[in-house]
Point group: C5
Chain length 344, copies 5
């Protein structure tokens, strides 16, 4: 369920349009951050209570020293830097992944324009090519998205959804036995290419150009699926992710001690910091540092169940319906040609 | 109403050309920032008056402590970092969106060069293909831009504007009943492709090349429209926007207290800061941090009503007029071939 | 007049090659920055003299307080951040604009290879197509560059330069009356496409491939011109430019006070800063912050009169001469085929 | 052995999905950093013991001065900046390299669709073209990857693997004698192009289009191999790598002294820092600065033996098997055409 | 002489692979930085000796004040920022330039596959087209690289190298007289295009496709050469380079004074900094700031004599040899077609 808010920020008026975005729950920072914040504040107040009510004076002095130690070194952690560079990379990959998702519309237009015939043979050919494209993309989706995998756990579920036929399933299973271990999401595209060749031989396609055009589009489609799988296979290097996670968590580890209020130090003059009890700015810092990390967490795999993830299941349905619409219902069927309003 | 100022900065002379840009109102930082600034300064001076005239000495001491607390932690907020990385992403998407807007000129040139005939049939075909392209783009615009939506709230308004005919509207509505729920902005492009196929069959197009060329261009056009809708659908993740907004607003929350003038602290020697009454530098900081955020706010959806947004309504008109000009008035019609000035 | 210095930095030896670049005037930081620096130092020394010779002790104390206030808050302005991100965007656009400038050489090669005939008709066709390309680019240049506009303020100046003929001018003017308000720089490209179609009909071009190839190139050329105009029309958002300008100027506003030498503060021990009279490091800072801003100012519109701007007028001449050379003088005219030195 | 963890971070729930990534060993920061950390802590504790137990009071004072000196200047080293920019470049190159790896699938689809015939001649042609592609890629891999080089140290090992035949090896060796010194990974692609030309002459390919299509794909494949070798040949400039390495190591050189606990300085009041014995925050800093550097180290050559490197040997096997599957087993062999589930 | 070290960093083991890179001389930071370092340390120690042995107490006090002044303002210079952004741009351009270098291999494959005939005429045509490509690239190289210019100072040297024939030289010189002032590196490509047209007319090329394919490749090659020249002509704006250079040199100007050891200030308590005599951390800082600048210096023109520059002379030789190998020795000549090892 993608969170779209573009319409709400179309125009920037009054106090600005971003302000109202702060009062949303779905896909929001609060929804993602609250468990961590809860844990953080819990620890913070436990330590605070310990200091105020249970420690004797000497222990309080040691506590205060540790607080100062944590504060001093905590501020040396370059959280914003590490996060800035890391999130740039993750956001770049996230959008690249979206752009890599292939849509069958182009193929549908070419197939509809080039494969002739309203009789059964022509229709079956057109529909089957489109079905194979949708099948290929769906198979790729099951490999990368737990959500689509849950919907189509086996080939039989693809049959039920009308994407696969019984005889095709048998061939896939046979090839899986012959050459095991490699993903086979490209299989249906190869079949589609065979149908195109056959359509040319049988004269359903009238020129070699059209063959080349459709084959080119099929290859682009197949390579789009391949790129999606590559993004899944080659993650952002684990080390980088760990570095960032470590930086953020160590920062808040230092904050949970270092931001404690302690009694002013009598030896250093004038150090009488106010005791606000609730660490208001540390909480705000928690929101945006941890929120920034959550941006990365929810974008690093955009095919999951996060509020911000792409709606692959919706795409599966849309692709099949729109493909059939273009190559069958609308095939060579355009509105009557009439003079337009500005004619001479 | 795009704000163009490139002509004014063509040459960088004297004190530089950016200085004079500071004295503009349309599309300016002042126009965007003033309500926030007004609120900020109002709060600031209320607190200032409270401190100076209404608090007793003891309360003033507490106030001063809170001021120092806010100042210390406010400076820890990495506003410029978060803004720098976020605005980079937003500006990148903004320009990508502009580049994604398809223009029908290429199609017009190909259609004009390849679809023959000055008699009515040929002219209707050429004009209709171009009308369908413009219609497709306009339908995409209504999906992403509130301004274009306001101009064409229903299909009937498209008919009035001469972009759609009555019989076409009926087909669209029928297909909307058959396959509801998916946007149909690609429909006219599919019709245009059908007309191209028919023109080939009827001999208006003489070779298969031309068919392929026009179909390729139509597909590029359709995919341009699709990309525009994608940018609208997949916003910059909400969490990221919230993180940035939170950072900026918490910074100014800390400033509204932390930048207050307080009586010098007698215990710490030499701390006699001047009392300027008006927080000149904080106001400047407000201008560029808040202005920086407003850059993001007005670019995150460039299809709205902001001064800096793209002029989609102008494009709608321009595209139809220029398309008709190329494929009809200028069709296969070039100036007489004469020897040029440098001949031999 | 582009400033090329690549040859001077080919090899990095001794004390490095960048050092000698510091002693150049054309296109240099000094040339761009000196008026601002003059004003800055003037103000600085006026204030300095005021403090040293005209203020009494009490006034000096207030002055010193303001100095300390300015210094403290001036350092909070994130000039280098804002500039770093902004200049990245501007430099990116600058180079993209250069890359978008279309060159007619490809079209010339295709036209020369595919349009046959040394007799007058063939020659006129080849030359006219190339002239139309150059004309189209020049018309685009007049829209974006004040320098080219100054050279060709009206269509008559284009006739004088041999880029336009009298009869073509009349057609352009008529179309301008029919469809006013839109730029017409694409008109000549449409004419060129018409000539290509006609050449095919008259058998000057022997195959449909060649037609497609040339039309494709013409379209690329036209879209290159269109992109140039887009860059001119859609500037970097004004708000962003204002944010950066404000940041830099407020920084130096704070420096002109905050970097003043003031008498040591007797209450704070050990604060006896040396009085150098001339603010050497502030001047250096002025050079690179203001210089950095000037980088942006001179790149934001690379079609003006700055030392670093692209030499469009040179391109106009070069394109026409080289085009004619390729399609006419060198047409189908290559050196005799001889065995090369390594034959067998 | 690529480390994929995308599936584990599909959804960001509870305390976030990155937290559990911290407890992995393969490809982890701990595995990469522990030898350095061991050395660092060893030196740190040696110095600590020296200070506490072996130095007399006067020596301790000097030690403390050096500690303060190191701490002061150590913090001036901009490690996070240098690392941020450097790692951005390295990560960019790393992903570009992955994207440059050519896959033979497209060629297989085109070869299968366009080269006719189930008899021996057709099959040999199709299989040989694919074998040459795989051979070319494998030869490129041996040039850039020590792991693939170890598997195929000589041409004979390629013969054993079925990628090369005896007669082909002789030709390669002869050409190596004729034109020594240049890598020959493009040779098999040139042979494949020759087979395509011959297949056209012998009528196995029926149209010139198909020839062009396959040749284009072969060229893309060859240039992909060439780009891989370029990335290997033109490393990130050594100076840049050295700058980054120096920055990180000097930072930790300063830390090993500068983070030592020393007795409070009696002259400066109130400096009683707590003595934690174990430098907890310095160790954390070590983890993420050194880990960040290791990100660069393991990505700078993604064809080695690191946990995060690409699995080239797996690709070599997969490519040959899948290629043969597409052009031979599945050649023109698609499931029977049946009506799908949604057929009217 | 490119410095390749990728093989050495294939695997990151033990203390990491970057550590050993620190002990290299060719292309290293030490080789580039030592003259500057020598000068810097010389000045540093001169000043140090002056302070310790020649100044009287009062002069020492002034010296100390200047030291403190320099140290305070020196740290305000944002060297790492400016360098980070600038080097990003330079590294981007450096790699783009490498990618722009055209390789004749694609053209060779197409020419070999499409231009028929083993008799003299066919061979001369194929060889001449390739020679013209290599000639064009070499002429472009002489314009941008002092090293290639030194090898081919005149056209006669190109004749000697077998890239040019006497009669061709005359034509070039005549055209140079006719249209002086523009670079002519595209001339040979135009000739090559003429040969292709002629080969089609004489039936050496059998279809119009092949003509288009080769012409397209020739145009890509020509435009690659053009881009190389553009990068040379349009340098990174001089102002930007000067800004960066000024920043680095002013930083070290401030360091040479500001990092001097001075006697502790008796009025400020506890300031007894250790006197290390040798400024170890300043030297390290010098290494990586100056080294970072040298990265830019050696990459800003990658066609010079630096250790890291591209080996253009090697490319000139390689291109001609490999081109002749593909179009002549290997023309249409592939190993006998045999069944492979996995045949059924």
């Amino acid at each position: 369920m993608t969170v779209s808010y573009t319409a709400e920020v179309a125009t920037c008026k009054g106090f600005g349009c971003f302000l109202k975005l702060l009062f949303r729950w779905r896909g929001s920072i609060y929804k993602l951050v609250w468990p961590d914040l809860f844990l953080f504040l819990g620890t913070y107040f436990s330590l605070s209570i310990l200091y105020r009510f249970f420690l004797n004076e000497e222990q309080q002095l040691v506590f205060a020293q540790i607080v100062r130690y944590c504060e001093k070194y905590g501020n040396l952690i370059p959280v914003s830097f590490v996060l800035g560079f890391y999130v740039s990379i993750v956001v770049g990959r996230w959008w690249d992944q979206y752009k890599s998702i292939p849509w069958p519309d182009s193929i549908a237009v070419f197939v509809s324009a080039n494969i002739q015939g309203q009789e059964e043979k022509g229709r079956v050919m057109r529909r089957t090519i489109m079905r194979y494209c949708c099948l290929s993309l769906t198979m790729a989706f099951t490999l990368i998205s737990p959500r689509v995998k849950k919907r189509f756990p086996t080939l039989d579920h693809l049959i039920e959804a009308g994407l696969l036929l019984e005889n095709e399933k048998e061939i896939i299973e046979e090839l899986n036995r012959m050459v095991p271990g490699y993903s086979k999401q490209w299989l249906p595209v190869v079949w589609a290419a065979s149908i195109v060749t056959r359509a040319r031989k049988e004269g359903k396609i009238r020129d070699d150009f059209a063959v080349k055009t459709i084959l080119d589009e099929l290859n682009k489609f197949r390579s789009g699926c391949g790129i999606l799988i590559s993004y899944d296979w080659i993650s952002v290097p684990l080390v980088y992710t760990q570095v960032v996670t470590l930086a953020v968590y160590s920062f808040f580890l230092s904050c949970v001690m270092g931001r404690q209020w302690v009694k002013p130090d009598s030896t250093a003059g004038g150090n009488h910091e106010v005791d606000l009890v609730f660490p208001i700015f540390t909480t705000l810092q928690f929101f945006f540092y941890m929120g920034w990390l959550k941006v990365a967490e929810s974008l690093v795999n955009p095919f999951g169940d996060d509020d911000d993830d792409f709606e692959l299941n919706w795409m599966v349905d849309r692709n099949l319906q729109v493909s059939y619409l273009i190559v069958d219902e609308m095939h060579n069927n355009h509105p009557e040609l009439l003079k337009d309003q500005y004619w001479d």
